[in-house]
């Protein structure tokens, strides 16, 4: 009943930066281990031949979700103190679509491009430059799209709150959905194995 540690004042913001760096190292390490430094493997997700993106991402979500759930139930973590970003449903849906298209074109997402660059990939660097250019463009047009950006605000809302289900039930459903998705992913990888970039290495 004293976590998250930072929010209970166990250390100050300078220490939090050191922790940020350490957590970042672990994050980057895991991404690289998972093959996320390679654009071909990431993009293969969208051609059904290599489903690492889905597998790693959903396993991570399920792990963190279960961990957080049980740590909260036993009273170790105060779940209400963990930051939940607000939902602006329409801009987020549109942003997600743009992101998906950009993912297939660029072959990375922001986090993985950093890993790719760290392992010497030139396209990773180009991607990062493009990313910064895109953010710059967004910053420049921001004054004109402020209304849209702040539209359809739903506050900090979670799936259990929105659908009026118990938290435990949603946790269960997410696990079942993830396991189902993994089964499909395994099947699809077998079917499209001939064009899996991992098999061509």
């Amino acid at each position: 009943m004293n976590a998250p540690f930072y929010k209970f004042g166990l250390f100050n913001s300078d220490v939090s930066l050191i922790i940020a760096f350490i957590i970042g190292i672990a994050f980057g390490f895991a991404l690289e281990r998972g093959g996320f430094g390679s654009a071909r493997i990431l993009a293969a997700q969208f051609y059904f031949s290599n489903m690492r993106v889905l597998k790693v991402m959903f396993t991570a979500i399920v792990t963190a979700m279960l961990g957080l759930y049980y740590l909260s139930v036993i009273g170790f973590v105060d779940l209400s103190l963990i930051y939940i970003s607000e939902t602006y449903i329409l801009p987020q849906v549109v942003g997600g679509l743009i992101l998906g298209v950009g993912f297939v074109i660029g072959g990375y997402c922001p986090g993985t491009s950093v890993v790719s660059f760290a392992t010497g990939k030139l396209d990773g660097l180009m991607y990062i430059l493009g990313l910064m250019f895109g953010i710059f463009i967004f910053g420049e047009v921001f004054p004109y799209i402020t209304d849209f950006y702040y539209s359809t605000n739903m506050g900090s809302v979670t799936l259990p709150q929105y659908f009026h289900l118990s938290y435990g039930l949603v946790v269960f459903l997410v696990v079942i959905m993830a396991v189902g998705a993994f089964a499909l992913a395994e099947w699809s990888e077998k079917k499209f194995a001939h064009r899996n970039p991992e098999n061509q290495l």
Binding site: A20, I25, A39, L68, G95, G100, I105, P110, T119
Partner: protein, 191 residues
């Protein structure tokens, strides 16, 4: 739980023994996912927040624009949000340090596995020049999309996903929808 931890550590221990061998295959995706999930969980428990990536880039962009045209950033709420109130350096930011860590972590893991090699990741049927152009264009789109959605795959999909955040789940589904919809038109780049 402990068995999982043991499994993961044994996987990493195995990796260490093989350092001398050249390029190694990537780790089991499910074990990697558990590792990544534990990193995310650690961020929740220690900091009360999740991971991120594009936020750090935004800070860099805001700082860059601010050095060139300070008046411009003052009048633009998007930039000024990332610059803070001037009491501390905007670069003393959690996400900036975290992304520096990602850079280091990616390099460490890549080095241990013999995967650090200068090169370009591309499909067999596309020129390097075109691939670099695509990477830039894709990156730009991701930049715009990530800012509109208030986060990228790490900050929204992964973090918000584990927190069962409604907006994050909608966003995640849309990434896959957008990706699969666009995949057909870009098959020449990757296949």
């Amino acid at each position: 739980m402990t068995t999982i931890v043991q499994k993961i550590s044994s996987v990493f221990a195995k990796d260490k023994e093989l350092v001398e061998v050249k390029t190694k295959p990537y780790s089991n995706p499910y074990l990697t996912g558990i590792g990544l999930g534990l990193v995310l969980l650690a961020a929740f428990v220690i900091m009360g927040r999740g991971l991120g990536a594009s936020g750090a880039m935004s800070t860099l962009v805001a700082v860059g624009v601010n050095t060139v045209a300070p008046e411009h950033t003052q009048s633009n709420p998007f930039y000024s949000e990332y610059l803070g109130d001037g009491t501390t350096s905007p670069l003393k930011d959690w996400l900036v340090f975290e992304v520096l860590g990602v850079l280091a972590g990616g390099f460490i893991s890549g080095s241990l596995a013999g995967r650090v090699k200068k090169g370009i990741e591309k499909g067999p049927n596309i020129t390097s020049k075109k691939r670099l152009l695509y990477a830039f264009v894709g990156g730009s789109l991701m930049g715009i999309g990530a800012k509109l959605a208030r986060g990228c795959t790490s900050g929204q999909a992964l973090t918000g996903g584990a927190l069962l955040n409604l907006g994050s789940w909608a966003f995640m589904m849309m990434i896959f929808a957008g990706g699969y919809a666009a995949a057909y038109f870009l098959r020449r780049q990757w296949l």
